[in-house]
Every structure is written in structure tokens, then in C-alpha cells.
């Protein structure tokens, strides 16, 4: 369970990116975080695995207060939280398998860490993860020879091999075409349903968010302006989340969705 209590995040330049966030996400939920660009979605996500530090309030993951963790404990926290990025963040010069194997590095003895030697068991596990996202035939292909959708699946496999309880995804389909995006979203849904991993996803495609997530959180200027079931997201709600954007004048849902996907 992830629990935000009165969380505030102020960047060193004085910008208040998160204001008094109160939020509770239970194990196994599929949550979409929506909001305009600059609303604080990435910041919110990155506080959960301590890629960013919160400046006040309390943030617990499975009951552990994470703002007081140090070096080794932070890395332990991160082992249990997978992260997926918009631009995949893979090492493109090496094979799919090698990218996925990196997830095992923290638990390996020093000499294997240095030499990059992996056991048969680790390779099998990595290949299983690659199979779960349906690109087993590409295991030995260099990442830079794959399409965007395939690369995002490699990133997903890398995360799966880590066996996290939570997956944070920051605009995972924003740089993919609609068809590929849907396939990757299907992967997320399967992982959420079959493996029971919590998925917290920033997504600027509202339709997609509503179609896949159980719960939607609307952020605006660092504040939560909506938190509820996907079914309850109405025109008025979207208006509240995206209000004031120059593209959205008429207020009809079509317009709002367009503004959100731009």
C-alpha cells in the first residue's frame, strides 16, 4: 500500500510541485494519474521510489516511511518498485536479454557484478519475463533494432524480472502509435490482473486512462482535484482537471480529450 499524508514537494528553485497530497493506493490497484503537462504527475510518481525527496508530510510504502530511508534502504525500496519511462531508458547497444538481466545485478556477488556474468537460472528468469511480454524471439536482438513498442516491452520485461509489487509508469505509451500503445496497455492490464502488481500510471491520453484504469486521479497545479472510479469521470470532472487550457474553450468532452492528448 502506498500512502501519502499531507505530502509537499518543493523544488530547490522554490517551485511548489506537490501541495498537500493525501492519497492511498492499495495493493493491486490500477491507477491512472491525469493532468495537464506540468501538473506534477512525474513528480508525484518519482516521490514514491525516492527518485525525488518530499519536502514535508509523510509517504509510506507498505507501512515504511520512505522519506527517512538512507542509501542502502532506498535501493532496497526501489528493488520492490519497478519504473517505466516514456523514452524506455534502455541500453540500446546491447541485447534485449542483457537489458533484462540488469535487474539481477544488485543481488549478485561482487565478482559477477564486475564481470557481468549471469547464472543459467537468472537467464531463465529473464527469458520468462521476456516471454511474458511476448517478444521471446527477440531475446538476442540488439535493442536499437526494435520498434518503439517492442522497446517499451523490453522495459516492461526488465521491470517484471525484478518481481516488483508496484510498477510506476511515466507516460509509457506517449511516444507510441495508437495501435502499439494499445498493445502495451494490454500488457500492463495483464500484469496487473495476473500478477497482482499495483500499477500507477501517468498518462495524458484520457480515453486510454478511462479504458484501462480502475481509478483515476486528476492533478492540477500540484493538487489532487479528482480521485475516484473511472466510471465517475464526467465532463465536469475533466473540465476541473484541464480547466484553463487554451485549447479547451467549448467544454465538450471531445474538446477536452483532444486538449489532453496534445
Amino acid at each position: 500500500m502506498i500512502e501519502f499524508k499531507q505530502v509537499q514537494k518543493k523544488y530547490p528553485n522554490g517551485l511548489l510541485a506537490l501541495k498537500d497530497i493525501d492519497l492511498e493506493i492499495k495493493q493491486g490497484e490500477f491507477v491512472a494519474v491525469i493532468g495537464r503537462s506540468g501538473a506534477g504527475k512525474s513528480t508525484l510518481l518519482r516521490c514514491i521510489n525516492r527518485m525525488h525527496n518530499i519536502t514535508s508530510g509523510s509517504l509510506t510504502v507498505d507501512g515504511v516511511e520512505i522519506s527517512t530511508l538512507k542509501g542502502k534502504e532506498i535501493r532496497k525500496l526501489r528493488r520492490n518498485i519497478g519504473m517505466i519511462f516514456q523514452s524506455f531508458n534502455l541500453v540500446t547497444r546491447i541485447s534485449v536479454l542483457k537489458n533484462v538481466l540488469v535487474g539481477f545485478v544488485p543481488d549478485m556477488p561482487v565478482w559477477r557484478k564486475i564481470l557481468g556474468v549471469f547464472t543459467e537460472e537468472e537467464k531463465k528468469q529473464a527469458l520468462m519475463a521476456i516471454d511474458q511480454v511476448g517478444i521471446l524471439d527477440k531475446a538476442y536482438t540488439r535493442v536499437d533494432q526494435l520498434s518503439g513498442g517492442q522497446q517499451q516491452r523490453v522495459a516492461l520485461a526488465r521491470t517484471l524480472a525484478q518481481h516488483p509489487k508496484i510498477i510506476l509508469a511515466d507516460e509509457p505509451v506517449a511516444s507510441l502509435d495508437p495501435v502499439t500503445a494499445k498493445q502495451v496497455m494490454d500488457d500492463f492490464r495483464r500484469i496487473n490482473q495476473e500478477l497482482g502488481m499495483t500499477v500507477v500510471m501517468n498518462i495524458h491520453h484520457v480515453e486510454m486512462a478511462l479504458a484501462y484504469a480502475h481509478r483515476v486521479i486528476g492533478l492540477r497545479d500540484g493538487e489532487i482535484v479528482f480521485d475516484g472510479k473511472s466510471e465517475d469521470v464526467t465532463d465536469a470532472v475533466l473540465h476541473r482537471i484541464y480547466k484553463g487550457s487554451p485549447e479547451q474553450q467549448g467544454g465538450s468532452e471531445a474538446h477536452v480529450i483532444e486538449a489532453a492528448t496534445n
Partner: protein
């Protein structure tokens, strides 16, 4: 910047729009080059007549080198091997040490700014010292012999490979590095698995290239007493024993050629 000082020409298009033509800098550069050539001839007192007269001497020396004294060969082997040993050991150790030093110098890996700046400064300082001078100083510290030469080559390799390496590191794609931090890897581990794969081919290639150059450097280090074949070269030139010099040069040329060919082959494979 310079082009602003030049007179500009305006072109008026048929539709009345005005385009300011960008003037080429080429004539100015040619003029400057000619001017500098003239100044440098004046300043250095270059005497063309003298040059023509004495250039003959050069060919006389070349003639005396041929044929080289083949009997001298057995005496050159050991110094030649010393030279190669010096360059291999110095290059190898230098390239290995250049890696952590480059990590310290790269400002995207070492986040503490004064450290990376200080290391960068030291590297450029090291690079400005001519290897021959470093070798000379090393002979005072470590005595005459190959150790001094090895140290000189070692330091030069650190400066050269270190500089090129940290520049590569700073231009590397940091996204995978970030992802690995998010997976709970330490900075060193993330470096090993996200950045190393990106820089490794270039790192090896740069190190090999440096090694090629070092073989040539090593050959002259003997001049200042830092061991190797340069010592013999110096001696024989002193005695005007050009046939021996010819033998040494011949062997050196062959050695350098062989080493460069091998190294080039592997560098191409790394691409």
C-alpha cells in the same frame, strides 16, 4: 563574429524583399595565412639559400645509412624489446587508471562540481607537459632506465585517454543510467551496466590508438635516459655511425608498422 566586421551586400528580390548576403570568410583567411607565413619566416630567420645548400647533407646521411649494419642487429633486440615493454605496460596501466579518473572528471557522473573541475584541470595540466620532459623528470625520480620511461608513458596515457573518455561519458545517453538507479542499482553498478556498454568500444579503440603513438614516443624517450632504443639512437648519431642508425630506424619502422597494423585491425573491429 568576424563576418559582422565585413561589408555586407544586400540583394533585392523581384518581390521587393531584401536579403543580406552572407560574406565568405575565405579570402580573409587566405590573406591572414599568407601574412602569418611571412612574419614567421622573418621572426625565425629562415634562410632559404642555406636550406638549399645544406639539404644535400641530409641525403648524404641517408646514403650512409644504406646499407645498414646487419651485424648490429643482435645488439638492438634487447633495447627494442625494452621499448615495446615500456609502451605496453605504460599504456595498459594508463588506460586502466584513466577510467576511474575520467569518471571523476565527467560532470554527469561526479555530481560534485569542484571535484570534476579539479580533475579536468589536472588532466589538462598533465597533457600540456611534453612526454619528453615528464620522462626527464621521471629519470631524476626513478633513476635512468625503463621505469622512468614507463612512468612517462603511463602519465601521458592517463591524460590522453582520460580526456577523450570523460568527453564521451559526458555525451552518453543518461536515460538507461537513470532507469538503473530506479531499479535499486548503486551509482557504480549503474555506470557499469548503463554507461560502460556505450563507451567500451570507443574506450578500447582510444586506448589502442594511444598505444600506437606511445610506441613511437617510447623510441625517443631513451634520449633523456629513460631507457629503450632511443639511447642507442642517440649514441650512434653522436658517433656519426649512420649505418647503425639506419639499422635501428629500419627495425623501428618495421616494429611500428606491425604494431599499428595489428592495432588498426582491432580498432576497426571495435567499430
Amino acid at each position: 563574429m568576424l563576418s559582422k566586421l565585413l561589408p555586407t551586400k544586400k540583394l533585392t528580390l523581384p518581390n521587393g524583399k531584401i536579403v543580406v548576403e552572407k560574406r565568405s570568410l575565405t579570402p580573409l583567411i587566405v590573406l591572414l595565412l599568407l601574412g602569418f607565413s611571412y612574419i614567421s619566416i622573418q621572426v625565425t630567420g629562415f634562410d632559404f639559400g642555406m636550406f638549399i645548400n645544406r639539404i644535400r647533407e641530409f641525403f648524404v646521411i641517408i646514403q650512409e645509412m644504406i646499407p645498414p649494419t646487419w651485424e648490429y642487429l643482435p645488439q638492438i633486440w634487447q633495447p627494442l624489446i625494452d621499448t615495446i615493454k615500456m609502451s605496453i605496460l605504460g599504456s595498459w596501466l594508463g588506460a586502466v587508471c584513466a577510467l576511474p579518473i575520467a569518471m571523476l572528471a565527467a560532470n554527469n557522473i561526479t555530481k560534485i562540481k569542484w571535484i570534476s573541475s579539479a580533475v579536468k584541470f589536472l588532466l589538462s595540466l598533465l597533457r600540456t607537459l611534453p612526454t619528453l620532459i615528464v620522462a626527464l623528470i621521471a629519470t631524476y625520480v626513478f633513476g635512468l632506465g625503463t621505469l622512468a620511461g614507463t612512468v612517462a608513458i603511463f602519465l601521458f596515457t592517463i591524460a590522453y585517454v582520460g580526456k577523450l573518455l570523460y568527453e564521451q561519458m559526458e555525451n552518453v545517453d543518461m536515460k538507461a543510467y537513470e532507469a538503473m538507479h530506479s531499479m535499486g542499482l548503486t551509482t557504480i553498478q549503474s555506470f557499469r551496466y548503463a554507461i560502460m556498454p556505450q563507451i567500451l568500444p570507443n574506450y578500447l579503440s582510444t586506448s589502442l590508438f594511444c598505444f600506437e603513438g606511445n610506441v613511437r614516443y617510447a623510441a625517443i624517450l631513451g634520449y633523456v635516459g629513460a631507457g629503450g632504443i632511443g639511447l642507442l639512437l642517440n649514441e650512434n648519431l653522436g658517433w656519426r655511425n649512420y649505418a647503425n642508425v639506419g639499422m635501428i630506424l629500419l627495425l623501428l619502422v618495421i616494429t611500428v608498422y606491425v604494431i599499428e597494423t595489428i592495432s588498426e585491425y582491432y580498432r576497426k573491429k571495435l567499430k
